[in-house]
Amino acid sequence: MSNTGNVQIQKQSLSQMDVVATAAHELKTPLSLIAGLSSMLKKGELGTVDETQAHYLEKIEYSSDRLLRLTEGLIAMNRYTSDASAMQFEAVEVGSVITQVIAELEPLATQHKQEVVFKSKRALPVILANHQSVYQIFFNLIDNALKFSPTGSSVVVTARVTGEHLHVQVRDRGVGISSKELKQLFRRYGNNPQPSSTMPGSSGLGLYIVKNLVELQKGTITAQPLVRGTCFKVELPTIQQLSLFDPEF
């Protein structure tokens, strides 16, 4: 009986995810339009705008970009959790991905006089991973860190290799999380902690997606409350011999 109940719950859960993924697909076109047009307006490509208008257009552009990343994350997570073989693995330079993410989030950081610092003592190895997933993971984590950090603060990303794992930490100086919030953090409907007054809160869907994508890469993610802020730690396996793998580039 209990097995039947579990199968029904699982089917319902998968069906719900299908609905979510379908909705996410439908959102991509209108969101691309909003992001694209606000970008053009901001740049003055559709007529002159003043500084104030450009400022708010940038907010519209950024918000729609964030929604696009979220929808892509939902679609990817849905696809891979229902069919893990759909995930294509390739040689990924995680350092380059993180650098790309930081560059894309720079306008948001600048708006709030924040900065993202990326530290790595040595060049990072290439790892066997899904490029889109790695991008989503670090985009969500760094975006989250900026969102929950006060004006003028820094988000620090550090990366190192020990043994057969790549360790990446994303540390913010936000309000932090309680042990009660920690338990809910990576759940689908978990609530993010009370945000700083400069930034709005969110449903925590981004962290749920991150956790799923990390685990699909055979990695782990934990969150460590700090006295000042939070530190998210991602651990991903590295590969030692690229010759064993023939990527499709």
């Binding site: 991509k28 076109t29 969101l31 339009l33 053009m40 490509e45 696809r79 294509q88 499709e248």
Partner: protein, 129 residues
């Protein structure tokens, strides 16, 4: 450049046309596969910007048929799709074989980035897959 944009969403096509036109390109738009091939039969273009998910036949069908004609064998093609390449299951090698010079995902491609990709068409070693 004379560009043919094949895009079924009218609002998105308006946006891309505005960006490309502002950069000095002459842009024609059609909204499905049949119209694309009909247009190319009667008009010369320098570049095809092609959506994949189209009503009726998809963009890949257009591309396969395009390459069977001598006149269009070497026409540069930029794919501009909602799907990322992984979702399509198309390999980079196959895209190369079909003469695709860039694969752009709409949700990650602002209009100015499409303009940049089009500008690269006239540069040597232009493939960006």
């Amino acid at each position: 450049m004379k560009v043919l944009l094949v895009e079924d969403d009218y609002d998105l096509s308006d946006m891309y046309v505005a960006a490309l036109t502002a950069s000095g390109h002459k842009v024609s738009v059609v909204h499905n596969a049949q119209a694309a091939l009909d247009f190319l039969e009667n008009n010369k273009v320098n570049l095809l910007v092609l959506d994949l998910l189209l009503p009726g036949h998809n963009g890949l069908n257009v591309l396969h048929e395009l390459r069977t004609y001598d006149d269009w064998r070497l026409l540069p093609v930029i794919i501009l799709s909602n799907l990322n390449r992984e979702e399509t299951g198309i390999s980079v090698a196959h895209l190369h074989e079909l003469g695709v010079t860039s694969y752009l995902v709409k949700s990650q491609t602002k209009p100015h980035m499409l303009v940049q990709a089009v500008a690269k068409i006239s540069e040597p070693n232009r493939a960006n897959l």
